[in-house]
Symmetry: C2
Subunit: 196 residues, 2 copies
Amino acid sequence: MFENILLNVSRNITLTDDEKNTFTGLLERRMVPRKTVLLRAGDICQFEAYIVKGCARIYHVDINGCEIILSFAVEDWWISDLASFHEQKPSMFFIEALEKTELLMLSPKNKQRLLHEVPKFERIFRILIERSLYTIQNRLLSTIGKSAMDRYLEFVDMYPTVPPRVPQYHIASYIGVSPEFISIIRRRLASKAPIP
Amino acid sequence: MFENILLNVSRNITLTDDEKNTFTGLLERRMVPRKTVLLRAGDICQFEAYIVKGCARIYHVDINGCEIILSFAVEDWWISDLASFHEQKPSMFFIEALEKTELLMLSPKNKQRLLHEVPKFERIFRILIERSLYTIQNRLLSTIGKSAMDRYLEFVDMYPTVPPRVPQYHIASYIGVSPEFISIIRRRLASKAPIP
C-alpha cells in the first residue's frame, strides 16, 4: 500500500526504515467512490492527499455558478488546497474524486508531527508547494497568452492519462472553452497527417 | 535600513537580537535606478528581494513578443521567481525596477546559511511561497471567470499604491486588456456617483 508513496518521496529525500515507518504510520488510507466530494468550498482543507489509484479534480464555482477547474490529479500526484491547509482558512475550492479513488491522507496535526519527528520532510513539502506554484504560473501565462489549441496540447502533455478518464466538459472547463470547441480541436488534431 | 524588514518577519516569528544580526548580516543592500533589469528570462534567479523603497514588476514575454505582467511589488513586499530560485533552473520571467528602488537581497547561498543557523526562518519562506500560490490562484480564477472591470477593481484593491506610480500600459498588461480599455474602465468608475 505504501510502496508508491515511499518511492515518490525517496526521489527527493533518503529515509531510514524507522523514518519510513513514522511517515506511513501518520497516513490515513481512504477509499472513496466516484463523485465523492473530499473538500467543499467554505470548509478548511484538512488534508494533503497522495493518490494511490484513481483520479480527482480541484475546482472553483464562480458567482454565476460556472465551474473553473484548477487542476486534475492522478496516480502518484498529491492533491490539496495548500493555501487553505496551511493557513487553516476557508477554501475557495471543491475537490472531487472523478473515479473510485484510493488516497493516503495527511492531516495538519499529523503533518506537524511528521515535521517534528523527521524534519527532512520539510524539503518534500517545500518541493510540492513550489511545483504547485510553478504549474499555476505556467497555466496563468497560457490562459492569458496562448490559443485554445496550444492550451489543449499543454493539457494533454501534462496529463497524458486524463483525457480518456474524464468527461469532455471537464477538459473544456480546464482549457476555458466550450465542450463543442474541444471536439473541434480534437477533429483538427486528428485530421493532421502524422509526422513521418 | 533593516527596521522594516525586521518588522516584516517579526509578524510571523520572534527573533533574538543575535538572530536578527545573523539575518541582516546575510542581506545585500542594492540601490538600483529606474528600469534596472534585476532578472532576465533564461537566467537563474539568484535572489529573494525585499523592497525597502520603490516598485518593481515581474513579467513574461511570450513568443509573439507580448508582455504578461505576473505581479507588481512595492514597499514591504518580496519579489523573486521562486520556482527558478529554488530549483536553480532558468526563469521564464523578467524582473524590472519601475522606480529608483532600494532592495535587500538574499542569495541562495546566504538563504541556506540563514536556514542552517536560524531554522525558524523556514516558516517565513514557507509563508512567502504559500502567499504567492494563493495570490496566483486567485489571479487565475479572475482571469478565467471575471470581467475586466472586476479584475481592475481587484488590482486596485491589491495594489492600492501602484496605479499612480506605473504607466497605464503596465496595468493593462496585468489586467489583460488594451490600455484604451483601462481608460474606459476608469471613466466608468469616475462617472459613478459615490455611495452616500
